[in-house]
Amino acid sequence: MKKPIVLALFLALSANAAQRSVEIQWEETPGADQYRVEVRTPGGEVIKKFTSKGALLQFKAPIGRFELRASVLTKDGRQGEWSEWTPLEIPPKEVAFSADETTPVSTQVPLGKDKATVKLTWPKEETATRYLVKVYKPQGELLGQKTVSVNELALSLPAGEYTYSVTSLGPKGFQSTEARSHQPIQVGEAPPPDLKVTERIDEGTGATVLEWTPHKLMAIRQRIEYQAFLAEDWRELRNDLLPSDQTSWSVADGLRPGHYKIIMSQELEGKPVGKSFEKQFTLKPNEKSLDNNLQNLNALLGE
């Protein structure tokens, strides 16, 4: 009598968290009335014995490596020869990422930092005791991997786009196939806050005053350009970083009449960030400034 040959092994999630449902199928043997199946540990301890009418059997088993064999029972109760022990591996189940969940996992690198913290979560897999998380660069190159015991992981990543996978890990190094998440990881650069400059008129002097609140991480650069009336070119009067405690500037600070551009911008580690503030204004002379030195004309002419 022929020995049964195991044809297929199916694994399915069991209701029992620690076990998986195993389905095995073997080749029908002519003259067989029933089949006898035994499952044993690699150490030789038989842990399950079944008698099946058909060439298909379902049973539950814990994650691990086992061996199984089968033999034929005839109608008259005779048992055929046992098959060879066939190895049976029951790995943890693959993490079930939903194909519909494609929303990127997005975050931004905070201002002044190199990396952002990204929190990944995935469906819990009951048969897994731990998870191996792999993060890939866009070209598929592995960026890094980490093993965790819960179905979430906080990662510190520089700005960029990534993908990730999770592999369920069981005891004794048993692991599922690698499950790829359909959610890309997107780490952007946090936009720097715009420099907000407000204008007011000083009640005492009537001068326009610019006021701002400096960001603690950023320096403020002030550039002042001047164009005399009838001149074609603008010339830079000032281009300096302001003291960190300076929060205002008055237009009436001894400026000559003409056209002015005030450009205020923020810098982080010497690089301009965010939108700058620009104001153009025209400063007219007053009666007093127009007559400046006109009383000393004779002296200026050497008389």
């Binding site: 005399a228 009336f229 009838l230 003409g258 009666e287 004309l297 002419l301 050497g302």
Partner: protein, 279 residues
């Protein structure tokens, strides 16, 4: 005139020798031939050089100062002062230094009154306590009424200042900057027609139209009619007023307000007519 004819003209000039004071031999000048003037060019050149050396915004190398000072000295007496005054004024206004030098050169060759007209008109157009116009407009108009003005610069200056003051003054017209600027520029087009400027005639006509018990026109209408009448010369205001009074006295067969004003305007238009051709 070329150099030779210039020298000939000088040689033929009736030379008058003056009893000059000991301190300055140039106090009184001899009479120059017609079309010429004698100039204290040495003084003008020296003053110009000193000014260039003393004025910090004119820090130029000596080789550049000399030709500029020579050019200024061509403006004859007072040229250095006119240059310096115009330059300082323009510089204090915020005008580009090279442009200020150029324009000051131009004014150094004009009269003191032209400089004064430019300065005073510019101030009134530009400054916030006067007409408060933008720089470009103030600059352009003040040049038109000084450098480019064909009439008497002193008259246009005084007329302009008088009109601005009357227009802005709280006790007179008390109008806004924009209206006053438009009105002043419109009226000063006629300044040369009036021996004492257009301002006195405008004031007279405007106040008549505003205050007359029978007319009592609104401000806008009074301005509009005054501008129309004043365009016809110095006799037009009196001709207008005379006709208006006549019509209001009911000696004419018209009674409607618009009709009366229309008639007075028509008569005032006849104040300026082409002269008859000489036979």
């Amino acid at each position: 005139m070329n150099l030779r004819s210039h020298l000939v003209a000088l040689a033929l000039a009736p030379w008058i020798v003056w009893a000059a004071p000991e301190t300055d031999k140039r106090v009184e000048k001899p009479k120059a031939p017609e079309g010429f003037q004698f100039c204290n060019s040495g003084k003008e050149f020296r003053q110009a050089v000193v000014f260039f050396q003393k004025e910090p915004d004119l820090s130029l190398p000596d080789e550049k100062i000399t030709p500029l000072a020579l050019e200024i000295a061509k403006g004859c007496d007072g040229a250095a002062l006119r240059f310096a005054k115009t330059f300082l004024f323009l510089k204090n206004s915020g005008v580009d230094v090279p442009k200020a030098i150029h324009l000051s050169m131009v004014f150094s060759k004009l009269s003191d009154d032209s400089v004064s007209a430019f300065v005073e008109i510019y101030k009134r157009l530009l400054l916030e306590n006067h007409l408060n116009l933008d720089f470009s407009t103030a600059y352009k108009v003040s040049l038109e009424l000084s450098r480019d003005y064909k009439g008497d610069p002193k008259k246009i200056r005084d007329d302009f200042m008088d009109l601005v003051k009357f227009c802005l003054s709280e006790k007179d017209m008390a109008l806004d900057y924009k209206t006053c600027a438009q009105l002043t520029l419109s009226l000063t087009q006629h300044t040369e027609l009036y021996p004492k400027g257009v301002a006195p005639e405008f004031k007279k006509l405007y106040l008549f139209l505003r205050n007359h018990k029978s007319t009592g026109l609104a401000i806008n209408e009074s301005i509009k009619i005054s501008e129309k009448v004043l365009a016809y010369g110095p006799l037009a205001p009196d001709n207008f007023i005379e006709t208006l009074k006549l019509a209001l006295s009911k000696k004419l067969n018209i009674s409607g307000r618009d009709e009366i004003l229309g008639l007075a305007l028509k008569v005032s238009e006849l104040s300026l007519q082409p002269a008859p051709e000489k036979l």
